[in-house]
């Protein structure tokens, strides 16, 4: 297990270096000068030079990269060019806001995705299976942006049951029912695609496992259906876990579209702002943190796999 873990860590290091290079360099490919986005038209050349120097934009790109990387390794993601606040101060509340939404989305998508997937697998080619499979395809195919607007139109505008956008006011004394109400529509929207993907992969995997000989043997040995069901789920778990890991990581990474539609101040919303205002330090910092998070989630899934399937450890 130790060798397995070390090997996984060895895979991660070059990925992280690659991620840092991509994060830094790609944002410079976007058209438009990062300074024109924040400088007024009549700014004097001295002021422009002063602000460019303060952010290090007057240096060659490779030097900018190594300075940025050095600062990142010491925990400093730089300063936002638009707000002049530290990127970390901008990012942390956004990560927490996205995490709230993501946890709700994860719960919805796991419960619904696994439940519906198993149900479909056990009702193969019957009406329930066809309905679930069709719903899963719709869930994966329909743009969440559109789904969000439809949900808002029905539940917020027409029925007036739930808020249309934003988070609950911060002064309502801890996390409560009001916070949940604000979360319902964006969380449902966010969970649509992962629910569809998880449901389809769970259905396929469970059906695949059920066809295997050991399941027939268990039936032949007279095990109860409940016990056989548990064996099937256990054998289906490793491949489902890998897909779920990716989906959960994506949810925690935030969704630009969903967070923008619901004006939810999370990482997706932050990224959208950073792109629109050419706030390069904020953009680089946010992408880097999210990419690292994604890599680490996959690493954790890789580590969890051998516990569910000892064959991976032996390989």
């Amino acid at each position: 297990m130790l060798w397995y873990t070390l090997r996984r860590i060895a895979y991660i290091l070059p990925i992280l270096v690659g991620v840092s290079i991509v994060c830094f360099s790609f944002v410079h490919l976007a058209p438009g000068d990062p300074m024109t986005a924040v400088m007024p038209d009549f700014a004097s050349p001295e002021l422009i030079a002063q602000i460019k120097g303060a952010y290090g934009f007057d240096r060659p790109l490779p030097i900018q990269y190594f300075r940025w990387l050095g600062a990142v390794l010491s925990g400093d993601l730089g300063m936002s060019t638009r707000t002049a606040r530290p990127v970390l101060d901008e990012l942390l509340p956004a990560v927490l806001n996205t995490a709230q939404l993501a946890v709700a989305g994860v719960v919805i998508s796991l419960v619904l995705g696994i439940g519906l997937g198993v149900w479909a697998a056990y009702t193969r080619r019957l009406a329930a299976d066809r309905a679930i499979t069709s719903a899963a395809i719709v869930g994966v195919s329909v743009p969440p942006y559109w789904v969000g607007m439809v949900l808002v139109a029905i539940f917020a505008v027409t029925l007036g049951l739930l808020p249309a956008m934003g988070m609950a006011p911060p002064d309502n004394g801890g996390f409560g029912l009001d916070d949940v109400r604000f979360m319902v529509l964006p969380a449902l929207t966010l969970a649509m695609i992962p629910t569809g993907i998880i449901a389809r992969s769970v259905r396929a995997t469970v059906m695949d496992v059920r066809k295997q000989e050991f399941v027939q043997t268990l039936y032949a040995n007279g095990l109860s259906r409940r016990r056989i069901f548990l064996h099937v789920i256990k054998n289906a778990a490793p491949s489902v876990l890998a897909i779920m890991g990716l989906q959960v990581a994506q949810l925690l990474g935030g969704s630009i579209l969903v967070e923008t539609v619901f004006a939810w101040p999370g990482t997706g919303y932050l990224l959208n702002n950073a792109i629109a205002t050419r706030d390069l330090p904020l953009l680089q910092g946010t992408i880097l943190v999210l990419a690292i998070f994604f890599v680490m989630m996959n690493f954790l899934v890789d580590l969890a796999q051998p516990f569910l399937d000892p064959r991976i450890k032996r390989q």
């Binding site: 986005a37 700014a43 509340p93 808002v152 002064d171």
Partner: protein
Amino acid sequence: MPSSFQKKSPSFRSANLQSRTADAGGTVAADALQRRLFLKLMLAGAGSLAWPYRLGHAQTKETVLRVGMTLSDIPLTTGQADGGAEGVRLINRSLYDALLSWDLSRADRPSGLIPNLAESWSVDDTQKVWRFKLRRGVKYHDGSLFTAHDVVWNFDKLIKPEAPQYDRSQARNAANWLVMVSGARAVDDFTLEITTKEPAGTLLYDLVNICMSSPRQWEKLGRDWKKFAFEPSGTGPWKLASLVPRNRAELVRNSEYWNKKQIPQTNRMVLRPMPDATTRVAALLSGQVDFVEALPPDAVPQVKASGMQVYTNVYPHIWPYMLNHMPDSPFKDIRIRKAANLAIDRDKLVKLLRGLAVPAKGMVIPDHPWFGKPTFNIKYDPDAARKLLAEAGYGPKNPVKVKFLMSTAGSGQMQPLSMNEFIQENMRDVGIDVSLESMDWEALRSRRMAGAHSPLNKGIHGINYSLTIQYPIFGIVGQTFHGKNRVAGYNWGNFADPDADELAAKSLREFDIDAQNKRIGELHAYLVDQAIWIFVVHDMNPLGLASHLKGFVQAQSWFQDLTRIRIE
């Protein structure tokens, strides 16, 4: 509790119960009783979440004005807001005061300058030294008294990098307004002198944007502008109660505001960033906000049909194509510039925009004091356009080929895609073959700042970039600056004309407002006669207000007075 969830629940439950009989390879063992219990719990939970949102918020006694902003973040709250006109409108004008202000009390005329923290002013014989008599008895939110020394301190905050209170962010946001200022001096506690680098008759328009932050509060907070942003102190009609970046700002009424006529009529104002237009409309229709900016034209009928109020008014905005006047541009020829102006069916374009625009006759509307008396009548006349093109050597078989830059969205750009495509068709009809290159707003802004002469803009003959005409330099006078006097972004196409230069210089040396308006009108008329741009439409600034808001007056301005709104 009755809810839509519960009404639908029987069919949902029966569908679940029926499904358990379907099984190809065995069923998942499930107890129908347990499932019913589970469903009941689920429905009860959903029902409690779905307690009508509007009802819950209608019970508060405090009057709260909730505003849906178009910005994606709360603008900087330290004194010089970012976020363009909206930052000034909602933060600067709420928390702070400047020496002068805009008269926003009338909807039927363009808003002009009025005294504010400065009660009167004069300029000396050199025309470079201005003396201001300041208002007495004005207090900051922290209780300290406003004096001339504070104005000097605030100018140093913006123009003196060696001053301890110098703030790079605020200096950046205020840079537009400090070009002419060389320094400020307190003659006594309530007399101030401002010196300009050269005679600048338009200085008062700059000062309207320089806001006064409290030096005492800054000292109290350990000379830290970041802390000041969360606990600001100005002299404005509202005080900041709380700030959650990118989420909300809550402002409370300043009951001791010096201008008793502008003490807010509501107890509290909440600002919510909502950059997505659909989100703003949904928030208004669902009762989550009471006032939204920049209603999209398509949403106006629905907003009206739901009993909400839609306000529109002209304001100093122009949606033009700034033209390339460089020697290799077809628009160097005034006949082609005029033909392009005559090719557009603006009335149809306004219909396309559901009436939320006004056909342009120049940079400003004809009622504006800066309009003057142009002789070139901008209208739809395709025959005249074809004739001018023929005189210039072009025709249907030999069209003028030009390329314009446009954005996909952006501040004041209205509906850029459909508008540009409509105009492209109009131009093709008379013999101007327009190709469009679209990009996002900030990329377009970069291209504008670079100017037509930049290698970045090689082969580009026009840029569709909307502009404020609220200030003389921004809107009109700056469009003539060229050569070493050119300011980034203004006079994009390098228009250079000695007659225009002379008229611009006269405007800047005029210190009486009426006489200055006349001079600017002469310059504007000349620029229209030269067809310096393709003038298309002025936006009507549609605002959505909940039906219970009363007392709002939509001024002909980029700024609005929200203090007079009351909730009934």
